[in-house]
């Protein structure tokens, strides 16, 4: 399936909200723009192939400034010598180039004419909006010519948009490309002028002189403001700005949603209430965390990442449905909150997909652009364009982090209160002076073996611990939030003590010779 169709289909699918789809990248429209731009270039004799040659020639020239082993350079050198004298005689060539010209100063120094065409007759409906600045290159500019590329495509940053410009340096008629392009441009300008009734006479004269020059065997530099291309960028930048706005709204909405839900769940699962959904929520979040729905791994990106998360969310839902956790809520509000929580995940997933699609559309359209015009726009467009407007992985990480932290921390997780030795709740909690906490049973075991080093940090702290090291605050907290686990642990502890007492009694009986103590 072609991407354009795929993109449309995905946007039209039921899980993309309408108002999002309206803000999506207008892939087809942009594609048309590219076509028009390619036509625009064609009018100037700059077919894709020609562009490719001119641009690559400029690369060669740039790369081999000091070597004259390429034909391109040779030709331009000859031209300079041949044309220098003639150039000196020209009246209006007053300004002089001094050395290589930076692009900013270039514009200032240009003895320019601006030609702004309007639409022509209907039979030629296209592309008469180009602006030209024509500069005659002089003898003195030899240095600069040496370094200057044959054609250069520039994106000049202009507030939030970029202004695309094409700078072409044309040699004399010996150069077949220059010849063709020169003729096309002259034809274009003359044609425009014929139909252009707005331009004043005085300006017109200047234009005429320059046109004459253009016809002569001279080196000229023509800066072209590309109209269709400009439209293309304005469109795409506007769309990206809209998307960015949408993204900010998404992020804000979801962040707020998390807060609301976590507040609700917090109040519903407060252990101080007589009826509490604490245990159910805890189990739900345990399942949620286990499924690691938006967990970002390094090797999964884009589409696959989305599909992966989608599958995990389904798995989560399946697991929840296989329990009666949601049905068993004691508060009706809990059920509502669960639905909101689930929906939040669906929303995040959707936003992920939507932004991914748009990002893909931008990448594809720029690729298309390069393919049809030979202009390597993708290397010029800054990264911001492909990053900023989209929900990216860092946002998903942040939001997922917020879900895990905000929602899940409302419900304390048992793992955080486990004893690092026996992996059950660290009740009764003994806090060593190095601040590490163990359950009393494991600590007693350590002391019996005379192991003084803290198992976690190795500082000598075990032997000196006494009942004063009991963390009463933590003990109360555990009793409140993990009543079930605390009860189990107490039971187990009792069993151990009984066993030990019995064992001691048995040993005592055995060694004191009193005989069997079991009745």
């Amino acid at each position: 399936m072609k991407f354009g169709k795929y993109f449309e289909k995905e946007l039209a699918s039921s899980d993309v909200p309408k108002e999002w789809a309206e803000n999506a990248i207008q892939y087809k429209a942009l594609k048309k723009r590219i076509k028009r731009f390619a036509e625009e270039l064609m009018v100037l004799g700059l077919s894709k192939e020609t562009m490719g040659i001119l641009l690559s020639a400029s690369e060669v020239t740039n790369a081999t400034i000091n070597t004259s082993d390429t034909k391109v350079i040779d030709i331009s050198m000859e031209n300079d010598n041949n044309n220098g004298d003639k150039g000196d005689n020209e009246k209006e060539d007053e300004e002089e180039e001094d050395g290589p010209v930076s692009l900013q100063s270039l514009e200032e120094k240009i003895q320019d004419i601006s030609l702004e065409g309007t639409d022509l007759e209907d039979k030629e409906p296209i592309l008469y909006n180009l602006k030209f600045q024509i500069q005659v290159l002089e003898d003195d500019a030899v240095q600069e010519q040496e370094n200057h590329p044959i054609a250069n495509y520039l994106l000049v940053e202009d507030q939030q948009y970029v202004k695309p410009k094409l700078i072409v340096v044309l040699n004399n008629d010996n150069d077949e490309y220059s010849k063709e392009i020169r003729q096309k441009i002259i034809k274009y300008i003359e044609h425009t002028r014929k139909t252009d009734k707005i331009v004043e006479v005085k300006e017109d004269q200047i234009k005429l002189q320059n046109i004459e020059k253009l016809k002569n065997l001279q080196r000229v530099r023509i800066t072209i403001d590309l109209h269709e291309d400009d439209e293309f960028f304005q469109t795409i930048f506007t769309e990206l700005t809209n998307l960015q706005q949408l993204k900010i709204e998404h992020e804000q909405k979801m962040t707020k949603e998390i807060e609301t839900i976590s507040d609700t769940i917090g109040s519903l699962s407060s252990p101080s209430k007589w009826r509490t959904d604490l245990d159910s929520w805890r189990e739900i979040f345990e399942i949620y965390l286990e499924n690691r729905i938006f967990y970002v791994t390094d090797d999964i990106h884009g589409e696959r990442k989305f599909e992966d998360s989608s599958k995990r969310l389904q798995q989560f839902e399946k697991e929840i449905n296989s329990t009666d956790l949601v049905q068993g809520f004691k508060h009706k509000k809990s059920k509502v909150a669960y639905e909101a929580f689930y929906q939040l995940n669906v929303d995040l997933l959707q936003a992920m997909k939507f932004h991914h699609l748009n990002k893909l559309a931008v990448t594809k359209i720029l690729k298309k652009f390069d393919k049809q015009t030979a202009l390597a726009v993708r290397t010029q467009i800054p990264d911001i364009m492909s990053q900023k407007p989209f929900i990216n992985e860092s946002f998903i990480n942040t939001l997922y982090g917020a879900i895990s932290e905000k929602l899940v921390s409302v419900i304390p997780q048992i793992e955080d209160y486990d004893c690092p030795i026996c992996f059950t709740i660290a009740y009764r909690p003994i806090r060593l002076k190095c601040s590490h906490v163990f359950c009393v049973q494991c600590l007693v075991n350590l002391q019996r073996q005379k192991k003084d080093e803290c198992p976690v940090c190795r500082s000598p702290a075990v032997m000196e611990a006494t009942s004063d090291n009991l963390d009463i605050e933590l003990q109360d907290y555990m009793k409140t939030y993990f009543p079930k686990q605390v009860k189990e642990k107490q039971k187990e502890r009792m069993k151990t003590i009984e066993a030990e007492t019995y064992y001691l009694a048995y040993r005592k009986a055995k060694y004191s010779g009193e005989g069997c103590c079991i009745q």
Binding site: I421, Q449, P455
Partner: protein, 151 residues
């Protein structure tokens, strides 16, 4: 045999569901305290490309005492002897009950990357290692290719 503690159950679950890269550990069905372990030789080490089999046993007092671990695959290493016994401080005097099977196996994996010939178990290997490190590394490579080939 004492019943399996919650700790062992939890550790085993995690070793299987979320394994350490380059390391596998599977308990025997008939004895859940006995594990078949494999460790991949780290890249850029003489053991690169090798897959080493080990056995790991959790004594009754685990985690108060360290697991018993032994290489089953022959390996040329100054801290591992002919019987596969490993000289590693965390297995002996530096064991603490907060160390888990996975962290222990990670230590063994890194022992392969950084042999310590000054605290040898296999004296002859350690001697070679100190006298002619390049030669020892070559031998270790050869042994890896010969005995620890991945199937």
């Amino acid at each position: 045999m004492a019943a399996l503690s919650k700790r062992i159950i939890r550790e085993t679950e995690r070793l299987v569901s979320d394994p350490v890269p380059g390391i596998t550990a599977m308990p025997h069905e008939d004895n859940l305290r006995y594990f078949d372990v494999t460790i991949e030789g780290a890249d850029q080490s003489p053991y690169e490309g090798g897959l080493f089999k080990l056995e790991l046993f959790l004594p009754e007092d685990y985690p108060m005492v360290a697991p018993k671990v032994r290489f089953l695959t022959k390996i040329y290493h100054p801290n591992i002897d002919r019987l596969g016994r490993i000289c590693l401080d965390t297995l002996k005097k530096n064991w603490t009950p907060a160390i888990q099977i996975r962290t222990l196996l990670l230590s063994i994996q890194s022992l392969l990357t950084s042999p310590n010939p000054d605290d040898p178990l296999a004296n002859d290997v350690a001697e070679c290692w100190k006298k002619d490190e390049a030669g020892a590394i070559q031998t270790a490579k050869e042994w890896t290719a010969k005995y620890a080939k991945k199937e």
